[in-house]
Subunit: 176 residues, 2 copies
C-alpha cells in the first residue's frame, strides 16, 4: 500500500490526535497507509530548543518513509496555506514524489489576498497581487499532481471538516 | 562560484526588476552568482493558465541550476513567510542542497501569530500557537543551515531593505 504523509495545520487542532486517527482511518478506506506527523510520545518536558529539533527530525524521517504527500492546504493564519505544510510540500516536489492537496476554502487566492489585505495592510504600497485564478500561490498549484482539490459546490467547509480530504483521497486512488 | 537561487516575495515589489538586479550585484560582492526568479522576457499576453505554468516551469528550472537557496523569509500576508518561497525552500531541503534565509522582521513567530490573530480571527477556537522562541514555523528553521538571519539590533527593517539580506550573504560566505 502507498504510504501517504498527512501534512497540514491539523497538528494545531485542539483535537489533533483524534483528527490524525480519523484521517488515517479514511486513508485505509481508500487503500492508503496514512502517516500523520502527530507524535503522542513526544517528550514535552524537553527544553524548547531540543523539542522543536526533535519534531523536525521526526517529520523528515516520516516524510522519507512516505511515497506521497496529501497536504491540507486550507488557508491558515494568512492568505495562503500553513507554512510548515508548504515546506513539506516542497520537499516532496524536490524528491520527485507525487504530491496531492486539498483546501476547505472555496475562495480564490486573489480574492482571499484582497480580503486579508483589508484586515492586515501590506507592508508597503504597490505590492502585486498574484491573480491567475488559482486557489493559492502558483508554486503550490504547480507542485500538485492534480491541482488543489476544493469543495465541489463552491461553499467553504469548516476548518476541521474531512469531507474535502476524502474527495482528495478518492482522486489519489484514481491516479495511483 | 556557487549559484544561489534568490527566493522571496521580492517578485511582488513594484520595483521587482531593480530589486533583483541589486540582489544579484550584492551576491557578486560575496562571491556568489545570484539567480533571481524574475523573468523580464515573460510573455504576459499568454492566457493566465499557460502563464502561471510557464513561471512555475521557469522557477523549477532555475532551482535545478542552483547550488543553494537564499530565501527572503520576511513575513508576507500572514504570520509566516511567503507561500511560494516556502515551497522552494522545501524543494532545496528535499534535494539536500544547502538552504539559507533571512527576515527583515525582528518579531518572534509566536508574537507575530498572536498579533495576526487579533486582526484576523482564527477559523476556530483552541488552535495551538507554535511557540519555540523561533522566528517562524519550525519546519522553516529546521530547513536552514544556520537558522533565520535577523536584524542584528532587534529592530525590524523596511520590507524592501537589503541590509539583512547582505548579512545573510556574509554568513553564507563564511560557511561555503
Amino acid at each position: 500500500m502507498l504510504k501517504a504523509y498527512l501534512a497540514g495545520p491539523d497538528v494545531f487542532l485542539p483535537h489533533a490526535a483524534a483528527q490524525a486517527e480519523a484521517k488515517i482511518a479514511l486513508c485505509a478506506k481508500y487503500g492508503l497507509t496514512g502517516i500523520a506527523p502527530f507524535n503522542p510520545d513526544l517528550d514535552l518536558s524537553l527544553p524548547p530548543a531540543r523539542l522543536w529539533r526533535r519534531i523536525f527530525a521526526d517529520d523528515v524521517r516520516m516524510m522519507r518513509d512516505c511515497d506521497i504527500i496529501i497536504a491540507n492546504l486550507t488557508p491558515f493564519r494568512g492568505a495562503s496555506a500553513d507554512a510548515g505544510t508548504l515546506v513539506e510540500l516542497g520537499w516532496f516536489l524536490g524528491m520527485a514524489r507525487p504530491a496531492y492537496g486539498y483546501s476547505n476554502s472555496a475562495e480564490g487566492f486573489a480574492t482571499r489576498t484582497r480580503a486579508h489585505r483589508a484586515l492586515v495592510p501590506d507592508p508597503m504600497a504597490g505590492l502585486e497581487i498574484e491573480d491567475f485564478g488559482l486557489a493559492d500561490n502558483l508554486m503550490i498549484e504547480g507542485a500538485l499532481a492534480g491541482g488543489i482539490v476544493l469543495p465541489p459546490d463552491g461553499f467553504s467547509r469548516a476548518f476541521e471538516s474531512l469531507e474535502v480530504f476524502e474527495r482528495c483521497l478518492a482522486s489519489v486512488g484514481s491516479r495511483a
